[in-house]
Amino acid sequence: MSGNPPENLAPVDEVKRSLLKKTSVFLGALGLAGIGVPLLSYLSPNRSTREAGKPISVDVSGMKVGEQKTVLWRSKPVWIIRRSEAMLASLGLVDGSLKDPDSEIPQQPGYARNEMRSIRPDFLVLLGICTHLGCSPTYRPDPKSVDDTWVGGFYCSCHGSKFDLAGRVFKNMPAPSNLEVPPYHFSDENTLIIGDGGI
């Protein structure tokens, strides 16, 4: 006999065949998805990292008026600034030239959505990361230190974004939104908890 294929073609139940084929393909896809789950989960922060990302507490009792303190939370710089009366007064002066003076873009927890963008007017807590491309802006509290109209705020040297002393961005800046306020609360007069908004 010859190995000529078509002669040996046996009749096959085509319905059954197509069903088995589709089931196989589906099961194969299920398997791929199943392999994906552990491989992708593996990439998310591990337990030690998550442990290290827990809320931190900061003692602010020794801070002088006008002083800036930078702490690391989840490897990111968080600024704590004790604002003076004069600094708070400067906030009202710039409203007109701000992009989002009323903090409508949700860049802060609800309890910090106010004029001062803070729980207590004197203490400002901000994530020190520019909303443009992630540089860390500098704290420039002195009026006229950046340009003639400067009333004090934050200046990002990377592409020149300017923010006021509540972290609100000025109009026509590369940065699209106000600086972010991380969740925080005061557990007592002098202790700030960063990373947890309290109850």
Partner: protein, 249 residues
């Protein structure tokens, strides 16, 4: 599948060889540790969560003063027990004459549950040792007997053992030492106390065991199903059902 493989292979000798190789596999496994006495076997039932926790409490009570569980601190069970890094001792390299108590995070894997279970229960009085105790499973151990008040004191009743052991391997520890002064716990309660600790340490050595048992059946079930479907598909097709090749280039 193996059967199919066997029936398709040509020689009885090949079948035999395969069979022998597979049959040999268990023979390859061997006991760990180098105990001179026969080890008691302990049943570790890792599904008993309450018991693991109880073992953890016993561990905190009897072992944590000297031994750390450094790799275990972030585990949920450690959290439940309130085990923290701060509670764990840190020994300088040269303390304890250069043999500081080791970390026990992996002890149930590097030794074995049976070894631990027997080791912890075979201390006996030996005045020549600095701690006043020696051990049958781990002769001249540096670890002081942690259980004197619970277990009581065991003494050597068969000193000849040490002269004769070269030839005999199957000595049982209870023919060599005997409880002389009872402690706070009855022998049965004491065994259970140690058993709990061993169970706990077995869990500590590889906490993935629970999730492994949880996922295992699903994965295996899936594979079985997939095997049957693809095998049925293959069987439905004849060798020549599939499209013949186009003219060969």
């Amino acid at each position: 599948m193996i059967m199919i493989m066997l029936s398709q292979s040509e020689f009885r000798s090949v079948n035999l060889l395969l069979f022998l190789m597979i049959a040999c596999l268990p023979v390859f496994s061997f006991a760990v540790g180098d105990a001179l006495v026969e080890l008691d076997s302990v049943k570790v039932d890792l599904s008993d969560k309450q018991r693991i926790l109880r073992g953890g409490q016993h561990f905190q009570q009897s072992c944590l003063s000297c031994h750390s569980l450094g790799d275990f601190v972030n585990d949920p069970v450690a959290k439940e027990l309130g085990l923290t890094k701060q509670q764990m001792p840190v020994w300088p390299e040269d303390s304890w004459n250069g043999h500081p108590p080791p970390d026990l995070s992996l002890i149930a894997l590097s030794m074995s549950p049976d070894w631990l279970y027997t080791y912890l229960r075979t201390y006996y009085v030996d005045r020549s040792r600095p701690t006043g105790f020696n051990n049958l499973v781990y002769p001249n151990t540096n670890m002081p007997n942690p259980f004197v008040d619970m277990q009581g004191r065991q003494v050597l009743i068969n000193p000849n053992y040490f002269d004769r052991h070269a030839g005999h391997h199957e000595q049982f520890w209870y023919r060599i030492i005997k409880l002389k002064e009872t402690g706070r716990l009855s022998p049965a309660d004491f065994d259970e106390y140690v058993d709990d600790i061993v169970l706990f340490l077995t869990y500590v050595s590889d906490p993935s065991i629970h999730i492994r048992r949880q996922i295992g059946p699903w994965v295996l079930g899936y594979l079985l199903l997939f095997i049957s479907v693809t095998y049925a598909y293959f069987k439905l097709m004849g060798r020549f059902y599939f499209k013949p090749p186009p003219p060969h280039r």
